[in-house]
Assembly symmetry: C2
C-alpha cells in the first residue's frame, strides 16, 4: 500500500510540490527555440530576485557539487592561493574540489558542530596576503551549522579577495543578500528549498566575479566554464543542452515562492526550525548546535543514542525518512530536514513519529512532550499562517 509513500524530512532531496511535478510534464521543447529563450529569461529575472543580485545566474545541468566545481574551476586560476573554510562534510568536499586545481591551498577546519570564527579568517588572511579566493559553506548540511556569511564576506572583501559561498542547503530558507553583503559567488542546487528534483545547479556571479571570469585565462573546465554561460545568457540561452524539464519546474517553484513572498518563506523556515528545536529539547534530547545564532533554518541536528535504530522505526513503520550522520557522526545523530515544501503540520507529524520511535527503541520520554512544545511555539509565533 505505502510503497511510494516516504515523507522526506531529510536535508534534500525534498518533497516536490504537485505544481512543480505538473510543470515538469510540459512537452519537451528544443533548447535553441524562442520558447526556451523566453522561459530562461523569465527564470533568470526571478532568480535575480531570490539571489538578491544584479549579476548573472548560470543554470547548469548537474547537482550541487557541479555548482561548487563550476565556481572553483572558473574563479581559481593556476597558481592562486585559496582559503577553504570547512565546518563539516560539505566544507571538506569544497576543499577537495579546490585541491584538484593545484592551487596553493590554506584550510581552516572546525570541529563538526562548530561554526567558522571570523577572527580566524582575519588572522589567516593577514598571514597569507596572497590569498585571492575564499570558500565557505553557508549551511553545513552535515551538522546543521549556519555560518555567518555576512561577517566573513566583509572580512574577505576588506582583504580584496573573492568569496564563494556554498548555499546549497540554505538557499531560500535563510537570508543571503548577495550584492548587499558583498558575496562574489553563490552556489545552490535544485533539490533543497527550491523543492525540485535534483539535477540543476545554479551559480550566481557578482559583477566583480564576472569580470574576473571574463578576463582570466580559459577555465580549468570546458563544461563548467562560467564565461561561456555568461556569454550565452546574454542571448537568453545556454552553451550546452540545458535540463529543460527542470527549468520548467524551476519556473513553477519560483512562482510559488513569489506568491508566498521570499521573506515570508524565510520566516516560515525559521519557525519550523524553532518548532523542531523546541520539540527536540522538550523530549530531553540534545541539539548539536546549541547557539541559535548558528542553528540552520533548514536542517536540525539532534544527538541521539542509537540514532539509526530510531530512524529505522520512523522510516519503516511511519514512512518518514530523516537523515543520519555522515562519517564520524554516523549512528550518533538524526538530521531533520525542514526545507522547501514543508509546513507546521509536517513538523508536528515528524516530532510525533520521532516520539513513537524513541519509545520503541527504549528511550524514556514523555509521550506528547515534543509535539506540544512545538505546538506552543507555533501558537505564539507572530504570523504562523503560511
Amino acid at each position: 500500500m505505502f510503497s511510494e509513500k516516504t515523507i522526506l524530512r531529510i536535508p534534500g532531496p525534498t518533497p516536490v510540490p504537485p505544481e512543480v511535478t505538473r510543470a515538469m510534464t510540459h512537452p519537451m521543447i528544443g533548447h535553441r527555440s524562442g520558447d526556451f529563450s523566453a522561459l530562461l529569461a523569465e527564470v533568470e529575472a526571478n532568480l535575480r530576485e531570490v539571489f538578491h543580485t544584479s549579476g548573472d545566474i548560470a543554470v547548469i545541468a548537474g547537482t550541487g557539487t557541479a555548482g561548487l566545481e563550476a565556481s572553483v574551476f572558473s574563479m581559481v586560476r593556476q597558481g592562486d592561493a585559496v582559503l577553504a573554510i570547512s565546518t563539516g562534510n560539505f566544507g571538506d568536499r569544497f576543499t577537495e574540489i579546490a585541491r584538484r586545481t593545484n592551487a596553493t591551498l590554506y584550510t581552516l577546519n572546525y570541529e563538526w558542530g562548530q561554526p567558522a570564527k571570523e577572527q580566524d579568517v582575519v588572522q589567516m588572511l593577514k598571514e597569507h596576503p596572497e590569498i585571492e579566493v575564499v570558500l565557505m559553506s553557508h549551511c553545513e548540511t552535515s551538522t546543521g551549522v549556519l555560518n555567518d556569511v555576512q561577517a566573513i564576506a566583509k572580512i574577505t572583501r576588506a582583504h580584496g579577495a573573492y568569496l564563494i559561498v556554498d548555499a546549497v542547503s540554505s538557499f531560500i530558507g535563510s537570508p543571503l543578500l548577495m550584492d548587499e553583503w558583498l558575496v562574489d559567488v553563490v552556489v545552490t542546487g535544485s533539490q533543497k528549498a527550491l523543492a525540485l528534483p535534483p539535477g540543476l545547479a545554479l551559480v550566481a556571479l557578482s559583477k566583480r566575479a564576472l569580470e574576473r571570469v571574463k578576463n582570466g585565462p580559459p577555465a580549468r573546465s570546458f563544461y563548467f566554464d562560467l564565461a561561456r554561460y555568461h556569454k550565452d545568457l546574454g542571448a537568453d540561452t545556454t552553451p550546452w543542452t540545458p535540463p529543460v524539464s527542470l527549468i520548467y519546474g524551476l519556473r513553477a517553484s519560483l512562482a510559488m515562492i513569489k506568491q508566498e513572498g521570499l521573506e515570508q518563506a524565510q520566516a516560515r523556515h525559521r519557525l519550523l526550525r524553532d518548532m523542531t528545536r523546541a520539540g527536540v529539547r522538550a523530549l530531553g534530547l540534545k541539539l548539536m548546535v546549541e547557539d541559535e545564532k548558528y542553528a540552520s533554518h533548514t536542517v536540525t541536528t539532534v544527538l541521539v543514542s542509537d540514532a539509526d535504530a530510531v530512524r529505522k522505526v520512523m522510516k519503516n513503520d511511519l514512512h518518514i525518512a530523516v537523515a543520519g550522520g555522515q562519517k564520524q557522526l554516523s549512528g550518533k545523530i538524526i538530521r531533520i530536514g525542514h526545507m522547501g515544501y514543508v509546513d507546521a503540520s509536517d513538523i508536528l507529524q515528524c516530532l510525533a513519529a520521532l516520539e513513537i520511535a524513541l519509545v520503541q527503541t527504549g528511550h524514556e520520554i514523555k509521550l506528547g512532550a515534543g509535539v506540544s512544545a512545538a505546538a506552543e511555539v507555533y501558537l505564539h509565533a507572530e504570523n504562523p499562517r503560511y
Copy 2:
C-alpha cells in the same frame, strides 16, 4: 490552441513518451535509501545490455557535454598525447575539451559532411606512437555523418591506445557493440534516442579503461571523477546527489526498449532513415551524406536553399520543428531528427510538412512525391510493423 504543440524532429531533445513522463512523476525519494539503490542496480543491469558491455556505466547529472568532459578528464593524464578526430561541430567540441587538459593534442579534421578515414588514423598513430587516447564521434550530429567506430576501434587497439566514443546522438539508433568492437569508453546522453528530457549523461568504461582510471593519478575534475563513480556503483549508489527523477524515467525508457527489442529498435531507426532519405531525394533535394554507409540512422541532413525560411513555415504553420545548420552550415541545411519515440507515420507527416513548406517558400517540387517515396520504402521493408 497549439502553444504547447511542437513536434520535435530535431536531433535532440526528442519527444518524451507518456510512459517516461509518468515515471518521472514518482514521488521524490532520498538517494541514500534502499529504494534508490534498487533502482540504480536495475537500471545499471539494463544499461549494460544496451551498451553491450560488462563494464560500469556512470550515471551522471549533466548533459552530453558533461559526459564528454567526464571521459576526457578521467582518461587523459597530465602530459598525455591525445588524438582528436573531428568531423563537425561536436567533434570540435570534443577537441576543445581535450585542449583544456593541456595534453599534447593532435587533430584530424574533416570537411563537414565527410566521415573520418581509417588510413589517416593509421598514419597519425604511426607518426605519433606516443598517442595514448583517441577521441571520435559516432554520429556527428551537425552533419548527419555516421563514423565507422568499429574500424577505428580496431586500429586504436592495435596501437595500444584507448578509444573514447561520443555516441550521444547515435546511441540506441545505431549498433555499437562496445566490448566486441574493443571500444574503451562510450558516452551518451538522455535526450536523444533514449527519449528522456536532457540532464543525464551516461559514461560506460571497459574493464581496460577502468583499470587506467582506477590506477591513475586523481582525475582533473572532482565532480566528474569516474573512479569515484565506479567505487560507489559497487555499492549501488552515486558519489553525489543523482538526478533521481530522470533515473526513474530512464528505467521506463529502458523497459520500452527491452519490450521492442534493441535490434528491432535499431531496424526501426534504419527504416526511418531510409524513408527520410528516399522522400528527400524524390523531392529533388540533395543529401549532405550521399554514401549510405556513412549516413546516420538518427539524423538526416538535407541541403536546401533558403533552409531557415522552410523551417520557419514548418514550425509556425505546421508545428513541426526541424533543426538548421550550425556555424558554416547555418542557413544551408535542414537536419531532420528521427530518433527515439518516432515511428513511420511521424516521418510521413514530417515529409508532408516539408513539401508544403517548400511550396510556400517558392521551391518547385511535385507535391506528394516525398511522402509517397517514403511510403514505398515502408511498404517494401522486411518487417516495418513496430
